[in-house]
Amino acid sequence: MLAAVDAGSLRFGDIGAAVGIAFTYFTIIYLTGLGGLFSERSGIVNIGLEGMMIIGTVTGSWGAHHFTLPPPDGLGWGLPWGPIMGLLIGMLAGAIFASIHALVTVTFRVDQIVSGVVINLVAIGIARFLSTIFFGQATQSDPGQPHLNPINIPLLSRIPWGFGRAFQQLSPMVVVAALLVVPVWYALYRTRWGLRLRSCGENPEAARSLGVRVAPLRYEGVLLSGALAGLAGAYLSVEVTNSWGEGQTQGLGFIALAALILSNWDPIRLMLAAFIFGFAQAIPLRLMDAPGLRLIPDPFVRMTPYVVTIVVLAGFVGKVRPPAAAGRAYEGGTT
């Protein structure tokens, strides 16, 4: 009864669904953003996140297709191996791809933004190439790709008036992504590795003078960023769209960067930022009927995520503090 209460022709159920979509995009943006976090905290600016995501999308899709065959001797334990392998392969592929960025920026000390741009360019090409190998076509995969069983979050999915829709039928990866904040925070702030990693991003000379090995740590940061962005991409193609298509990342890698800036490079605040941007994605998808929005022509509503990103960036630069040494190549060898 109350589910039919309207705000214009927009129903609470729609808002709930929008929040659900926001969670979905939150997962992508948060994972990618975490990747960027590790890289930048170690001192390497990574605008190639989009490219790493792209690699994750195509390889993840392949993995999901390829591994859906039942494993021999019932070793499957009833797990949906296809999607799981897809996600893992996407992660691995992202890390391998990121090693190019690491090599170019840490070892050869090419400008980090230049390298990031190049990475993005190259990723598109590689994705096409892999697609012809995997799927026989250059720009998309075959339909009918398996995915993980969606879950309903207990309790929260029962919220009445349609808001509960936000927590229904979510991919388990959403929960995984949200829970990641715990080990990430711990690793960054409570471990020796995290302390050393952060020192590389703030003052690599100081780190080196104390015997900390800057180059390997930066490699680790970048590879992690590739793994996480790749995972995000795989999640996108395996769980969200159930297929691979060229351009499906839609600039999310850059939106993740904006979220990272907004969060002041903090893993906890990044969750909030990722959610905000995730919600911006949901607006053109589910809230087109909201009062006020109906007056704006369709294509303009589709611009929402981009406009939101720009507004956020314009308002928050100068109020945030990036890792001090990020963006500058570090001389001094790898001792």
Partner: protein
């Protein structure tokens, strides 16, 4: 260290240098900029490999490949420019690299640091963020870092360059304590007064070679200086006597950045030296005058023109020349050629940029050639990149460019930082020539020697204000007090 030789492209930084360090002594390593003192110690600390020679620690021949090796051998170094991670706490900075396990516990780290500090009589708060510390405190953190790793040999590279006289005294106290507990200390400095005060033995380097080894009792400041440079050094150039004219630069109640109501006046034909420890607003003063930093309130006047809200180009056009304290960040575009750098600051002048914006390259190159000849800038030709010039030549180029326009005011900030004696003399002479030509000069410097050598009037800058004014023959102790803000109303200018 025996027979250490180290070569860089084009230069032999250390040439067969031998140094012996005993337990429980403060050994000073003295020489002018570029003599090779820092290089030698960096070799000891494993930051550079040496090309020839050998190093022995406690009688054992060793090869030090990295700071880690050095630390393992009990050698620690406190650099001239601190290497601290600003957002980290003191404790985090101290334990970085030697955390004692994969997990880091803040309370435990804090405890360890407090204990260590107490053992050596240091005062420090382990949980404070380094960016909130004073310079003297930061230095203590650096020393703690070394002590935490159990060093027996502590190398200090120009430690007093950034300290107030009081802080320097405190440092010396701590050093004596360390020495008495058996540590060896290498004290790199070019400040001969301090060296004579704190050192047990002194080694002098010149142009990469050892030219002498002595003790404070057996030598004097003049003798040391002569060894450093190889010829008798004039500590004072002759100041031309000029008639001092009307005020040219006038600052009134200026609030900008760290400046809090600063008043200052410089007259034609006069050199005013602003003395003060770095960090009291020197940079902001220079930036405010040049329009690189907005002035929040107050006025800046050049003759009668109000510069306060003008942009840098206009301020330059009004007749201001600027020799910045940071050659590389504010003075030259290192990746451009010499002639392109000669144009900087004058690219709007119709002589060099015709209508429509096309540059008269021939005229610029002609200008550049004249500049490098007249100001003795050693370079192969005007097309070579500014980066290839030595520090001294870079500074000469900047001077040449700035002085060529017949400015009314010369603003020189730390003009001889990092230069060797020959270049210093040249720069000083140029500045005195400006005075002789009847121009106004505002000199900002952290080196009291320089202030005394050049100034007609000395003012002290402390916490963004001019605290006192002194005649050029005032005793340094008094000026030192002004630098610390330790003046009563009667003295304040």
């Amino acid at each position: 260290m025996r027979g250490i030789t180290k070569r860089f492209p084009g230069v032999v930084a250390n040439d067969d240098v031998s140094l012996e360090l005993r337990a429980g002594e403060v050994h000073a390593l003295v020489g002018e900029n570029g003599a090779g003192k820092s290089t030698l110690m960096r070799i000891l600390y494993g930051m550079y490999p040496h090309d020839e020679g050998s190093v022995e620690v406690h009688g054992q021949a060793v090869r030090i490949h990295s700071p880690r090796d050095a630390i393992a051998l009990g050698i620690g170094m406190v650099h001239q420019h601190f290497v601290l991670v600003d957002p980290f706490t003191v404790a985090e900075n101290v334990i970085l690299g030697q955390e004692g396990g994969p997990i880091v516990r803040a309370d435990e780290a804090n405890r360890k640091v407090t204990e260590l500090a107490a053992a050596y009589g240091f005062q420090i708060d382990p949980a404070a963020a380094v960016e909130s510390l004073s310079v003297g405190e930061e230095q203590r953190v650096e020393i703690l870092k070394a002590l935490y790793r159990g060093v027996d040999i502590l190398i200090l590279d120009e430690p007093t360059a950034v300290l107030t006289p009081t802080e320097a005294e405190a440092l010396f106290e701590n050093l004596r304590r360390l020495r008495d507990s058996g540590k060896s200390i290498v004290f790199i400095s070019h400040k001969l007064d301090e060296v004579l005060e704190i050192a047990d033995r002194i080694t002098v380097l010149r142009r990469g070679k050892v030219v002498g080894e002595t003790t404070p009792s057996a030598t004097s400041k003049a003798q040391l200086a002569e060894m450093m440079v190889g010829r008798p050094v004039l500590f004072r150039l002759e100041k031309p006597a000029t008639r001092i004219g009307e005020p040219v630069l006038h600052l009134e109640g200026v609030h900008a950045g760290r400046l809090h109501g600063l008043d200052l006046e410089v007259r034609a034909g006069e050199i005013v030296g602003v003395a003060g420890v770095e960090g009291n607003g020197q940079r902001d003063l220079a930036d405010a005058i040049m329009g690189l930093r907005p002035v929040e309130s107050g006025r800046i006047l050049l003759d009668d023109r109000d510069l306060t809200s003008m942009d840098t180009a206009e301020i330059r056009r009004a007749g201001t020349a600027f020799v910045p304290e940071d050659r590389q960040e504010q003075g030259l575009v290192l990746d451009m050629s010499l002639w392109e750098n000669a144009l900087l600051g004058r690219q709007a002048e119709p002589e060099y940029a015709r209508r429509g914006g096309v540059l008269s390259i021939r005229k610029v190159k002609h200008l550049a050639e004249g500049l490098i000849t007249n100001y003795d800038v050693r370079a192969r030709n005007i097309d070579t990149t500014a980066r290839t010039l030595s520090g001294g030549n870079q500074q000469k180029l900047i001077l040449a460019r700035e002085l060529d326009g017949d400015p009314k005011l010369l603003l020189a900030a730390q003009p001889t930082r990092g230069l060797d004696v020959g270049a210093i003399e040249f720069v000083w002479r140029q500045i005195l020539d400006q005075k002789a030509a009847g121009r106004a000069v505002l000199l900002i410097s952290a080196e009291l020697d320089e202030i005394y050598a050049l100034s007609d009037r000395i003012v002290t800058l402390f916490e963004g204000r001019i605290t006192a004014e002194y005649p050029s023959d005032a005793p340094p102790e008094e000026v030192g007090r002004g630098m610390l803000g330790d003046v009563d109303e009667a003295e304040a200018g």
